[in-house]
Symmetry: C2
Subunit: 399 residues, 2 copies
């Protein structure tokens, strides 16, 4: 009797062992596939989330999860930074719909006569166009007529905007009420010490903007190649998350930015060359035709350096500045905002105004939709990491 029982148990135990072994092997195989660095089909590795939208189930593909995507609740670690005469709700909403973070440029919208109330309309318009997170940019720069910053902040809070990008001068005064209202603040700045003080003032994340950027790179001329590496050591020591900004346009740069310690990438100029960018087609054409040498600096002599498209007007401004350094009155007629607006919104004349763009202008080869742009960048970054970088590492399995 005992022997029969033992035999049955022995026989069963083997079957049990066989079964467990098989399950374990299957599980291992699954893990192997998911961790396979050299996979030929990297897209299979993406996180797919089902999301209800307009009563349809939409599948989102999210290969990257970073502090930026988590903080802002967005799908891809890509921000469309504030841009004068470009950052209207129509662009911001489409960037957000494509899974990035679209941003409305407050100073472009909150103009006389309606001022901050025009921004209220823009925020509402953006909300009609997207149900995804978007933000508002508040740039704090010395301009002719001081903008109604108080009104802008009030409208942002009243309209329930969740994310604000501040930029330029010290944002402490603006950050205070925004943080009180529970708004996420990303501060864009050009120096490590400014990043530290913005974080101290309450900024949740830094957008680190180097010499290569369009618009205002500051007066210290530290390139992103070094600035981002430095941020990757200093800001991370202080547990301050940051994203790369300035001169960004490609998926290889997204992979590089993440390597350097960033949590994502901010792009301005690259988003100007999208189908949805609400600017004249001639400007987009100029962006595609230009190369990396097609920008220059103006306003250095008035301590407010700006990187702009290298056209006849900009060269004239440089010439006058070298003759009359620091005398803004001598160049005002060439640089006033109204010329900028007209070029972008009316005439498409690329030559008779000064307009901001980054060195990323040399990395733009086409005009595509925001969705295509973001998808291509994210795919390129993912392929760079899973493919190129992994293939350069010598694996244990090779010896």
């Amino acid at each position: 009797m005992f022997e029969i029982f033992f035999l049955v148990l022995f026989s069963l135990s083997k079957r049990l062992l066989l079964f467990l072994n098989f399950v374990w092997a299957l599980k291992r195989k699954k893990r192997c596939l998911s961790l396979n660095e050299e996979t030929k089909k990297p897209r299979n590795g993406k996180k797919i989330i089902a999301q209800k939208k307009n009563n349809n189930i939409e599948l989102l593909i999210m290969p990257f999860k970073t502090k930026l995507t988590e903080l802002c609740g967005i799908e891809h670690p890509i921000v469309q930074g504030g841009m004068h005469y470009v950052g209207y709700p129509s662009l911001a909403a489409q960037v957000s719909n494509a899974g990035g973070l679209g941003i409305i440029t407050a100073l472009t919208i909150a103009q006389p006569p309606r001022g901050a109330e025009a921004l209220r309309d823009a925020i509402r318009e953006c909300r009609r166009l997207t149900d995804k997170p978007f933000g508002v940019n508040i740039t704090l720069l010395p301009v002719g007529v001081p903008p109604d910053y108080e009104g802008i902040v009030r409208v942002i809070i009243e309209e329930g905007v969740k994310i604000v990008e501040t930029a330029g001068r010290s944002p402490a005064a603006v950050i205070k009420p925004l943080k009180k209202a529970g708004i996420i603040v990303i501060h864009k700045c050009v120096a490590i010490r400014h990043a530290l003080s913005a974080a101290k003032a309450g900024a949740d994340m830094i957008s680190m903007d180097g010499f290569d950027c369009g618009g205002h790179p500051g007066e210290e001329d530290v390139g992103n190649w070094v600035l981002l590496a430095k941020a990757g050591s200093v800001l991370r020591q202080h547990s301050i998350p940051f994203i790369a900004s300035g001169g960004c346009a490609t998926g290889t740069q997204l992979a590089a930015a993440l390597s350097l310690g960033a949590e994502g990438m901010n792009m301005g100029t690259r988003f100007m060359a999208t189908r949805e960018a609400p600017i004249h087609a001639n400007i987009k054409k100029a962006l595609v035709e230009a190369d990396e040498r097609s920008t220059t600096h103006i306003f250095r002599t008035v301590n407010n350096t700006e990187r702009v498209y290298k056209n006849a007007q900009a060269m004239k401004v440089r010439e006058i500045e070298s003759e009359h350094p620091g005398d803004f009155s001598k160049i005002y007629h060439l640089v006033k905002g109204e010329l900028y607006r007209k070029s972008f919104q009316e005439t498409g004349d690329t030559e008779n105004s000064v307009w901001s763009c980054g060195q990323s202008i040399g990395l733009i080869d086409d005009v595509k939709s925001c969705k295509e742009l973001i998808t291509d960048i994210v795919n390129e970054a993912e392929n760079t990491i899973r493919g190129r970088l992994s293939s350069m590492l010598v694996h244990r399995s090779r010896y």
Copy 2:
């Protein structure tokens, strides 16, 4: 009889199956470990090669295999670029011994009275100090007394040097005899079009040097952040391999450079802050204490821009240049090479000469041995790829 045979077979087949299953599972487990992107012990993944040296077996750890390591037969994708008054055989040999590519600076060595024959001695000295590959740098810049380039090239060929780094003006005339002698040529330049023409002239690899670099960044001021991304698309389209140069000092930058399409990284300034660098300790101290804003440009008005340490002498040169643009005779007494040499080799005075350094000066926190430096950079790059980047990718196993 038949039933007994069947039972035995059935019983055995199960055991066989169990055994095969187990072997397969073990094999899978091994592969999983070798491919595990999020492994906590990345060093286990390195390639270890046994090499005979001085009758001892030496174990080399090589985590990266790129076109640079393959082309030059070196262990790590790191080059120590040519540096005036720094690139002596004692440094080059130690960089090579540490697994990088050490480079002797010909123009520093081939000085009167012995000229190119002094370079011959230096090459022989370097060979005594290392049995690993090293190179010689030939910089083609406009200098007061034209160097004996012909003699330098002849000595390099006669001494059997395997690798030459050319830099500066068009290298075609120098490349021709070098390639005829079967020497590998890496050309350092600051513009995509120069890279294309150097490759056409026979250069095997490009060292792409941006605005951020020490020494001569050219007059176009394109930062490495954009220049490397551009090279990653244009040069790779033409199958021209390149390495990143200028402002390089960290392992995160090595990972970023590889992301952008480079095959490795060239460092100058960072190697000045090594124990083996044959320069005065005060200079090394200045490198450690400086930050990323501690450099400036001189010689812009004479169309030969140079990034140097931002000291009293450099600011004096800038001042004179702004008053007398283009007049080299007005600044010559402040910038002559003899002052540079004295600061580095005799006095250690950081202030009374102009001396080259890159923005990477802001990324230097310590003076260590070449071996420690290269090992740390390679480990950091590997950890960045296997750890940080992989953890940001959403794996299939997570859903």
